[in-house]
Amino acid sequence: MSEYILEMNQISKEFTGVKALSNVNFKVEKGEIHCLIGENGAGKSTLMKVLSGVYPYGTYEGDIVFEGIIQKFNKITDSVETGIAIIYQELALFPDLSVYENIFAGNEVKRGGVIDWNQTIVQAKEMLKKVNLDVNPEMLVKDLGVGKRQLIEIAKALSKDVKLLILDEPTAALNEDDSENLLKLLGDLKKQGITCIMISHKLKEVISIADKATILRDGETICTLEGSRGEIKENIIIKNMVGREIDDIYPKRENKTIGGKILELHNWSAYDPQLSRNVIKDVSFHVNQGEIVGISGLMGSGRTELALSIFGNAKGYKLQGDLVWDGKSIVFKHPSEAIEAGIAYVTEDRKGDGLFLGQDIKNNISAANLKSISQNGVINQNEEIKIADGYKNSLSVKAPSLEQIVGNLSGGNQQKVSLGKWLFVGPKLLILDEPTRGIDVGAKFEIYTVMNKLISEGMSIVMISSELGEVLGMSDRIYVMAQGEIKGELSAEEATQENIMQLATQ
């Protein structure tokens, strides 16, 4: 019998108007990797925030027992001192500081009240070795990719003598290689006796790594599956998560009718004056009307930059080459011109540059197309409510009302609001940048279904994605990018995981 390192008993947490958790029980044994899964808005992040003291003692009901003692955390540092470290859905590093400064931020190596920088660097190197990361600790964090940043977050947690490590969707923003790396590291940490809770929507990872998996739905514990009993299987998980079975998460499309070229790029290059280098090099590609074009590639391969350069040159690159839209050569100088022409771009970083987090669902959905619901600049607010409500329902955004502040929605529901905002523009070409990042299987299925419906209505979609399964499952054609160039084009039939990765790592 092994002991429980953590027991969360009868936890309930309410926000004004939303019961996020009700009587949740969650038990974790020492030294195991325990996955926490559930649909968007099920309450996973909230449960972990209760555990780590983000929501202090007294703002929730129930008990947290850690190492046999009832804990009453008033702030995050309380839980850190007890040996609980949490790595949030959104990374919390300082991009302009160096790796070693980040690792010891808030936990500085001091001698007599003065920071000992040399010692800091020495210790930072040790920590980096523990997470198998080979970078110079003096590099700035902003110059590192997301995968490496994630490892730095873990190194930071390790520097604080962590006993229980919590990762909230750690691989959501990582490519396959980096993800694998991270999972391997979690395995290593387990061997050193560190207990780990991981929230993830990627079932494959859960299956490969979890000793146990607890499933939440609508703020309640549904069950805890045990790997030792052979219960951690895709169909069992999905059934418990969604409450029904989904046969094929990539729904098939009937009657494809692919039309002429809607967008063409010829020898397209983009020079970023801030980085003073070319982020896009000599790209030629096209999108046909009524097809889904997948763009695959590793992080930093220039996919987002390509989208931005098309979408009204939003970042002010110096562009070269030819963009042909609907048969006409054209130059978009501002996103508004691209939108006007019929292009919509759903950003990959919905919090950073996608949504107005402080505003409500209604304002976010209408933001890009206020013109259509206003007369002489005055908004018809009834019409606005009607439309926003329509998208909220058709995309099944889980929220008590349209007046809910978007910053308080769960990640997946935020993504749906983002999508709704751009569907309202009624685009001819929809560019989706990582459309299902951080989204649960049920909602993924819904989004794929929406995509298919849009296509059958004659829209074209460019889907940038790091998730190979989704690229393979949804695309009609696939371009693979690396180092700002297109390395190859594959038809849906010939594309495989292997030949995509081969092109991407060329």
Binding site: A314, G352, D353, G354, L355, G358, V378, D389
Partner: protein
């Protein structure tokens, strides 16, 4: 019983908004008691609102500047400078009032647009750009008033803007008839808009407060408007300053809540990158907001100069800080995207009430500054705390 409970949760949820009104109420009550009712006398209230007017119009525009995460420090001396220009145009160039005022307002817009240019197109932080502008206007004001010193204005029409009252039409039991009519129309309009608003929300199954609370709120607000109207009608009625101030507030409130422009301003404040990718022209919005700030500086200059019936070398001193303070007391947030123009007006009235009340009580000027500083700090602390709780 239920109504009481609902009222309690309502206050808890909107504590930030209501907190300001409660604070204002406490301030008024305190001063009224301490001055044996002198504070609430017709004459004093009339005087108080007039002295809030030239700050309120600044605060309203300043709120939008802060909403888009900028600041404008130049507005005080800009107001003083433009007031002086108005005085010079009328006294030395002999220009008629109805030409002078539009010219000054346009000059204000141009000045504001120039700040907008420095901030949006050149990329200078607003703090620095407008600090430079503040110094320049300070110098310019001294320059134009150097030879003459204080410029006395003898134009009655112009001076009426700061001192005059709307015509009464008829005296009615010693009360000012037109003022009563305006007040009644105001109440009618308020009730109408609230009811139609509620109806709309119900049509879309939005949450609305219960009928009890709704009626209570209508009666309460109407009673306040009626009371203020009554008080003012007992003296000289509504002053032109009040009318101008109300107009400005109504227009800004309308723009910020009902129009595309307003939405875009708050979008830019809430997340500039997202706004850009939403197709909003962030630069244009910045220009417009600074342009409006410039125009309100001009209006403030006109109101103040008219009130003093002269342009002085020190006109406009510290106006910018009063306006910023009023905006913060009114609930604007430096993090951007949050803040109501109606809040800014209440903020301006809170600050003016403090000054006025303390003057009546004969509190020394040194203490006055400290108390006003304390109130500003308290308001912002309250703001931060209530936001954190949510």
């Amino acid at each position: 019983m239920n109504t009481l409970k609902e009222a309690k949760t309502l206050i808890q949820e909107n504590i930030r908004d209501y907190g300001m009104y409660i604070a204002l109420f406490v301030i008024i009550l305190t001063f009224t008691i301490m001055t044996d009712g002198l504070f609430m006398s017709s004459r004093n209230i009339s005087n108080l609102i007039d002295s809030a007017g030239y700050i309120a119009v600044l605060a309203v525009a300043m709120t939008l500047v802060i909403v888009i995460r900028h600041i404008d420090l130049s507005v005080g001396y800009a107001a003083g400078f433009m007031g002086a220009i108005a005085a010079i145009l009328m006294t030395q160039a002999g220009m008629p009032v109805y030409i002078t005022i539009p010219i000054i307002l346009i000059l204000g817009i141009v000045i504001g647009l120039f700040s907008g240019f420095l901030v949006a197109s050149i990329g200078i932080p607003a703090f620095v750009a407008t600090l430079a502008a503040m110094l320049i206007f300070r110098g310019a004001l001294l320059q134009v008033t150097e030879k003459t010193g204080t410029i006395i204005i003898q134009n009655d029409t112009f001076n009426a803007i700061g001192n005059g009252y709307i015509p009464s039409l008829l005296q009615f039991n010693g009360l000012h008839l037109l003022t009563l009519i305006v007040g009644l129309v105001g109440i009618g309009f308020y009730i109408y808009s609230e009811i139609s608003n509620r109806r709309n929300k119900m049509k879309y199954q939005f949450d609305v407060v219960s009928t009890g609370i709704f009626v209570l709120k209508l009666v309460f607000i109407s009673a306040i408007i009626a009371y203020i109207t009554w008080i003012l009608a007992g003296y000289n009625g509504f002053s032109w300053t009040i009318i101008i101030m109300l107009l400005v507030v109504v227009i800004y409130h309308f723009i910020s809540t009902k129009t595309v422009l307003g939405r875009h301003i708050y979008a830019v404040g809430s997340n500039p990158e997202a706004a850009h990718l939403t197709g909003i022209n962030v630069k244009k919005i910045t220009y417009i907001v600074f342009g409006s700030m410039g125009m309100m500086s001009a209006l403030s200059g006109i109101l103040f100069t008219a009130r003093l019936q002269s342009a002085t070398t020190t006109a406009g001193t510290l106006f910018e800080l009063d306006a910023i303070a009023a905006a913060y007391v009114g609930g604007v947030s430096a993090a951007g995207g949050v803040g109501k123009v109606t809040g800014a007006v209440i903020g301006a009235i809170v600050m003016a009430s403090l000054t006025n009340g303390m003057n009546l009580l004969g509190v020394g000027i040194s203490y006055q500054y400290m108390i006003r500083g304390g109130v500003l700090a308290l308001a912002v602390i309250f703001d931060v705390l209530t936001r954190m709780k949510r």
